[in-house]
Amino acid sequence: MSEATALRTPLVESQIQAAAARPPGDEPAWLAQARSENLAAFTAGGLPDTRIEAWKYTALRALGQRRIGPVDVDAALRATVDSTGFVLPGVDGPRLVFVDGVFRADLSTAQDVAGLQVMPLSRALREQPESLRFALSRHYRERADAFAQLNAALGFDGVVVRVAPGAKLSSPLHMVFAGGTQAEAGSHLRVVVDVGAEAAVDVVEHHVAVGEASHLATLVTDIAVHDDARLGWLIVQDAGVAATLVRRTRAQLGARASATVHALELGGALVRHDLACDLAGQGAHLETRGVFVIGRRQHVDTQLSIRHGGRDTTSDALWRGVADGRARGVFRGAIVVAEGADGSDAALSNKNLLLSADAEIDTKPELEIYADEVKAAHGATIGQLDERALFYLRSRGIGLAQARSLLTLAFCRVALADISDERLREHLGELLDKRLPRMADA
């Protein structure tokens, strides 16, 4: 068997068929070309294997053996979905809801907000395709980028957000990606966000389950935060137990721009998130906070990479992980300080708790430094709760199980500490608490 045919796994075959089955839309020529180039690259490379460094700890062999068909759009439009389940306290801006990758106007709420333009990608493509040309005509060449290739080849909808320069939005924008109504269906969405100079906006990326069906969802997000602008990005990933969810987020920050990213990874069977931030402008600032709480046979892989390109840029990353059952948590946190990025200050902390003898955590904090006027530090640990803290609580009459639960919750909630809306913070804390395994008084 030649290598080329070995790469033609059932998944690859089924995606080629899905692409062929797509109805020919009246898309601009550049978009059609980008689709065919990316499909060709995906077909040639297949899914990455674990010999490719970026996928070292996430094996895709089982996924490769599955056949994933296109989503039945009509069925997705008809599916009954209870939208009250999406509500997050304090997240009261416009809401866009997608069910298995299909935009549901009936579940979404539009609002007229001064300075904010938000619409489904499909509409933006009809009305103003040229403005999306840069974001959507990218050609992914690396095998590690297989899912981005797939997304570019097959994606037909998503969200476009534009915040006008100077506009300060008070209500967070809510994007809901619900999945699980169709078995072995693949949905591929694109999000393009442009935050104008001196503008400010908060966005919530919310993944929820509306069915237990196993499916594949990919999401590719491109974010530009212009000079002096501020972006808050909260990811609440609570996908279904059988979901395979592959996300890729790229953000570029202009001069003195600041971004805060929070990520809660709770659901899904196989979840991968590539989060790449480029601090391109002088004085840009980035904060990332994340936590995963996983059990069963869940596999959650976060690949964070932060590039300090501009002078005097700062970044602070704080990530936590808890793995129970037969779960496997993977984290990579790479910080690159480019040549000339003097005055950069980068810090990363990654701490993990391993709760079960069958769980595994693999972590890899990286530093790549090419400038000398820098401060860069990272720390990572994998272990258990602090015995002294446990002892302290027990000495105050708190039972072992409760003490453990309290400390584990506190360990995770650090990642939420600076969410300013208290109701939202509490709500997310409860979500975390529900996911934490109940400790026995052993």
Binding site: I361, D362, E366, E368, A377, G379, A380, G383
Partner: protein, 486 residues
């Protein structure tokens, strides 16, 4: 006065002169040598084996390794820029002419070489109190203190001799820690290794003196492939030192060594290296490619293996001294100072594989980058399922001197046991203006201040080195760094 006004002058003539200081061990010894013709084939492997009067099993072992090597791709995962190596252009064996029976027959030129390098091979050796095995190009030229060691039951000899005299021991342990097909360079080494040192410390013996090997590449267009095997039986202890130098040549020379350590119950091995191969000139021309596989196997319970390395030489260093912590409560340690200056590149670190219960490992790595040097720490801490209560602590600091160098950290942590604790910390910084200002305001010159600060930065590692080596390491670092600041 602000620190800026005190900041170093960049075109200081004195600094320039220091920068261009020549590699002190860069001389060539003009000595007649016997070499195999360049090229690598099964015939060459057979000839090499025949030249060394090796038993048949050894020849077969080499051939198997060679055949495996042919099927392997060159590794490209390290953060190193390596020009393609023409393995057919190298000569795989070079030895000073004339057979040697004892140190007294050694060519005086050779002895002179080692004198120049400060390695005591003759009478003076007695004063130094360190037993030395000197390896010149492909062969061992002499081992000192053999009688004293034999009285203690310690076997310390060249690998060739060990294969002839202690075949059973070699056969039992060779390749048991680093198998022939372990990696590209280990496979190459297994096929063509020419000599090296063999150490056997029997049960309960504490080796009465430090053992040491001094490696010297002299001949042009040769590769050096030595193999070291150290076996410490139950309750035995040995401290082993390794030093290396090479002449200055414009071509890159290849050094691919394999070191295997075996520690049985309660045995302890301390392995220290001061690596000062020729690093190439300030434009990155020439220098040694140092591709080394070093691995220790803590087979017995309560055993301990400690690696200490000071890496200042070589154009390219690719080296990951590792510990397999198989025995319960066994301990692995890795202390490293790696310095890259001019165009040097280093990708070095360690692997700690925890298999036994209550195993412990500690990693302290200090990287210093200057000039256009690129310095990467790459380490793996792996806790296997059965390693209850395993503990690892890793500390990894990088110091940047200059605008064009790079310092990188790639630690891998893989944990499969919930009772294990693994910690990693890393920092990267430059010598701060505050530190410089403090030293300068106390009348300490610029270069001395840098050397003082760097010395402090490395102290944690130097203190693990045996005394003689610590002094040499400190001196080496000073020389290597001269001209880096300014």
């Amino acid at each position: 006065m602000t620190p800026e006004t005190l900041s170093p002058v960049r075109d200081n003539a004195e600094v320039e002169a220091a920068l261009n200081r020549r590699y002190e061990a860069g001389f060539v010894t003009d000595i007649e040598s016997v070499s195999l013709p360049p090229g690598l084939s099964e015939d060459i492997v057979r000839q090499l084996s025949a030249l060394k009067n090796e038993p048949e099993w050894m020849t077969d072992w080499r051939l198997a390794a060679y055949r495996h090597w042919l099927t392997m791709p060159t590794p490209d995962w390290a953060k190193l820029k390596i020009d393609p190596i023409d393995y057919q252009a190298l000569s795989y064996y070079s030895a000073p002419k004339a057979g040697l029976k004892s140190l007294d027959e050694v060519d005086p030129k050779l002895l002179e070489t080692y004198e120049k390098l400060g390695v005591p091979l003759h009478e003076r050796a007695r004063l130094a109190g360190v037993a030395v095995d000197a390896v010149f190009d492909s062969v061992s030229v002499g081992t000192t203190f053999r009688k004293e060691l034999a009285e203690a039951g310690v076997i310390f000899c060249s690998m060739s001799e060990a294969i002839r005299e202690h075949g059973d021991l070699v056969r039992q342990y060779l390749g048991s820690v680093v198998p022939t097909g372990d990696n590209y360079f280990a496979a190459l080494n297994s096929a063509v290794f020419s000599d090296g040192s063999f150490v056997f410390i029997p049960k309960g013996v504490r080796c009465p003196m430090e053992l040491s090997t001094y490696f010297r590449i002299n001949a042009i267009n040769t590769g050096q492939f030595e193999r070291t095997l150290i076996i410490c039986e139950d309750d035995a202890y040995v401290s082993y030192l390794e030093g290396c130098t090479a002449p200055m040549r414009d071509e890159n020379q290849l050094h691919a060594a394999v070191v295997e350590l075996v520690a049985l119950e309660r045995a302890q091995i301390k392995y220290s290296t001061v690596q000062n191969w020729y690093p190439g000139d300030e434009n990155g021309v020439g220098g040694i490619y140092n591709f080394v596989t070093k691995r220790g196997d803590c087979r017995g319970a309560d055993s301990k293996i400690s690696w200490t390395q000071v890496e200042t030489g070589s154009a390219i260093t690719w080296k990951y001294p590792s510990c397999i912590l198989r025995g319960d409560r066994s301990v692995g340690e890795f202390y490293s100072v790696a310095l890259t200056h001019h165009h040097q590149q280093a990708d070095t670190g360690t692997k700690m594989i925890h298999i036994g219960k209550q195993t412990k490992s500690k990693i302290v790595s200090k990287g210093i980058s200057a000039g256009r040097g690129q310095n990467s720490y790459r380490g793996l801490v792996k806790i296997e399922k059965g390693a209850d209560g395993a503990r690892n602590y890793t500390q990894c600091d990088s110091l940047l001197i200059g605008k064009r160098c790079g310092a990188h950290t790639f630690p891998y942590m893989e944990v499969k046991n919930p009772t294990a604790i693994v910690e990693h910390e890393a920092t990267t910084s430059k010598i701060s203006d505050d530190q410089m200002f403090y030293c300068r305001s106390r009348g300490i010159g610029e270069e001395d201040a840098v050397s003082l600060i760097v010395d402090g930065f490395c102290k944690q590692v130097f203190r693990e080195l045996p005394m003689e080596f610590a002094v040499e390491a400190k001196k080496l670092l000073e020389v290597s760094l001269e001209g880096a600041v300014g």
